[in-house]
Amino acid sequence: MTLAEMLDRLEGGRIGHAAAMRWLGIDSLNELVEIVHLNGRQMPGHRPMPVAPETRALLRRITQPLPGRR
């Protein structure tokens, strides 16, 4: 099982916290949450940690669609 598969299963609630922590070789729930978030995924049932509105506003101002996808 790859990290991506593990995160997908955890996020989808198909494996629990304990199984994920065993897979990662960690014993701290805080560390699990950090790893999940660091990799852009969510703990099951959690809402995405939003990028701050100010940063999104900046991104909108300095971002354009990829060429060919306009």
């Binding site: 598969e5 660091l38 852009g40 701050a52 506003a57 900046l58 971002t63 669609p65 990829l66 060429p67």
Partner: protein, 195 residues
């Protein structure tokens, strides 16, 4: 006609974002930036050295981006190159970080007053450096940036990209990303100018 001008630039202070996207062949995501991208010379060295760019993808990308990327010369990077040219083998170590600190100091002391830096990083050590404490700074790691691009409708496939990145990771015990951090008050970044 009044036109909004954003005095903003993207600063990439560590090799992580570039190497991560190179591994999944999505360096084109940097083309979504309409603002200049700043990379210090020492980080340029790190992302293009053979060990990190064995097939020349990053070098070709830098060439392709042309003047959309500004390579910032630093004394740290200059000294490193001089040593290389002398045939010495200086330790790269944390020189990238020191070079970014040098650049951040320059920005803090002599940067434009309304300048808004968006720091796109992966190495959590960046959070402890001066570039992370610049006025009006916004900090995003690669994952948060990709998610924000998808949320804004700039790219359609954010989750798939993150999965592709995760699938390439060899060791989840070495996290090199942190959730994006930002600081308030950044909306003061827009300057009005007459054209």
């Amino acid at each position: 006609m009044a036109r909004k001008i954003v005095d903003a630039a993207v600063i990439i202070p560590d090799a992580g974002p570039v190497l991560t996207l190179a591994r999944i062949d999505r360096l084109d995501l940097f083309e979504t930036f309409s603002a200049l991208i700043h990379i210090v010379d020492q980080v340029q060295y790190e992302i293009t050295k053979a060990a990190n760019d064995p097939d020349g993808k990053v070098g070709a990308w830098l060439h392709r981006m042309g003047n959309r990327i500004t390579i910032v010369e630093t004394l740290v990077g200059f000294g490193f190159r001089i040593k290389l040219e002398r045939g010495e083998t200086p330790r790269g170590g944390n020189l990238g970080e020191i070079a970014v600190d040098e650049y951040a100091t320059e920005l803090a002391l002599r940067g434009a007053p309304g300048f808004v830096p968006l720091v796109l990083f992966e190495d959590p050590d960046v959070l402890e450096t001066r570039v992370a404490r610049l006025a009006r700074v916004h900090l995003l790691n690669t994952a948060a940036w990709i998610r924000a691009l998808a949320d804004e409708g700039i790219i359609p496939d954010g989750a798939a990209l993150l999965d592709a990145i995760n699938a390439q990771r060899k060791s989840p015990l070495m996290p090199i990303e942190r959730p994006g951090r930002t600081k308030p008050g950044a909306l003061a970044m827009v300057a009005e100018a007459k054209r």
